[in-house]
């Protein structure tokens, strides 16, 4: 299984699938296309962890209103920990067929002002809201599959890496359409740290300059998902 995910992140090409587009997994999703694909009818919800969703011990402040962390997070964390490992997200073998998975892109997982990014996600979603993809650490060369779930009503998305059910990554679908967005990383049931997801541009063809996304000029309007 890991070998197959390795191909996604390092080769970007899957034998027999979309040979004309080796960078399919790098594609980003606009909110409208994602909402239509995953049948999420509402406007996008963007969260800035540490601003409108703040973790303090056993309490989460959602728009300054205290909620117990267990009440707010437990269902999401359990769903991400227990979801069955989905298959690798592949483009359809026939481009005329509807796609089972929509790629959300390749993201660096980093912290602000904490050096070079060394951890990366490829994330994709299917119509049921299941998240699949891969995680890679370039320090240790670890490759792990990703498994997760989106709660469509709140648009909260949470996933785990491999078999590790202690560390859960949480953000919103709206955040996953952005080039840079905060993400809550839950370590066990009691510790959450705010990290960043930074979209990685599709690698440039050999000999051509890398095309970098424009830096966002203003943050998206914040709205907090309810428990």
């Amino acid at each position: 299984m890991c070998r197959r995910f390795l191909l996604i992140l390092t080769v970007g090409w899957w034998p027999g699938y979309y040979p004309s587009d080796p960078w399919w997994w790098w594609s980003s999703a606009s909110w409208n296309s994602l909402a239509n694909f995953a049948s999420v009818p509402t406007d996008p919800i963007y969260v800035d962890y540490g601003v409108n969703v703040v973790y303090e011990g056993d309490t989460v402040y959602v728009d300054d209103q205290p909620v117990s962390a267990e009440q707010y997070d437990k269902p999401m964390l359990e769903a991400a920990a227990n979801v069955e490992q989905p298959p690798p997200p592949l483009p359809p073998s026939d481009p005329n067929q509807p796609t089972e998975w929509m790629p959300l892109g390749v993201f660096a997982l980093a912290q602000e002002d904490r050096g070079d990014a060394v951890m990366f996600f490829q994330l994709s979603i299917n119509r049921e809201g299941t998240i699949s993809g891969a995680f890679q650490s370039t320090i240790t060369n670890d490759i792990r599959p990703v498994a997760g779930q989106v709660e469509k009503a709140s648009q909260r998305a949470a996933w785990r890496v491999g078999d590790n059910t202690e560390t859960i990554f949480e953000t919103t679908l709206g955040n996953l359409t952005q080039d840079v967005s905060p993400i809550a990383v839950h370590f066990g049931n009691s510790r959450a740290q705010t990290w960043l997801l930074i979209r990685m541009p599709e690698p440039a063809p050999a000999g051509q300059p890398q095309k970098l996304p424009e830096a966002p000029k203003s943050p998206p309007p914040l709205e907090s998902p309810k428990a």
Partner: protein
Amino acid sequence: MVGDWEDADKGDNLTVRSQYSWARGANFLTRNVTVKRGAETTLEGWQIIGWDPIESRIRSWTFDDAGGFSEGRWTQEGNRWLQRETGVTADGSRTGADNTFSKISDDRFTWESNNRILDGAPQPSIGQIEINRVKEHRCHVSTISSYPDRGVVARLLSF
């Protein structure tokens, strides 16, 4: 860095004490580190820091009493040193971290650890911890003067 250093944060009842000294010839720094919870020693480790003339950089090799070991490559940025460390635990899990040492004065520096990974899973970052020289053990500094022609490590890690 030669001398005794201690973590200033006593809130968690953990004490991390490091003793840096020169190995014979002053080409390698050796570090003994002891982690205590209260009076009980919970971890002991050993580190050797030296200059790699091929890579032209400082490198380090660390071993702990639980059977894990790691190696680090050091990069300087002003008063800060970044140590990128990779290793294994006794059970065969791969580890990785970016550790930053920031010199505040001759007797004080901060340490923080980010991009931590264990067995393929990101780990919580450790925020800045202040490390202070233990004054009563400053006698270790005198050992430097035993080596008038100190090596690259001594010139670079001058705290």
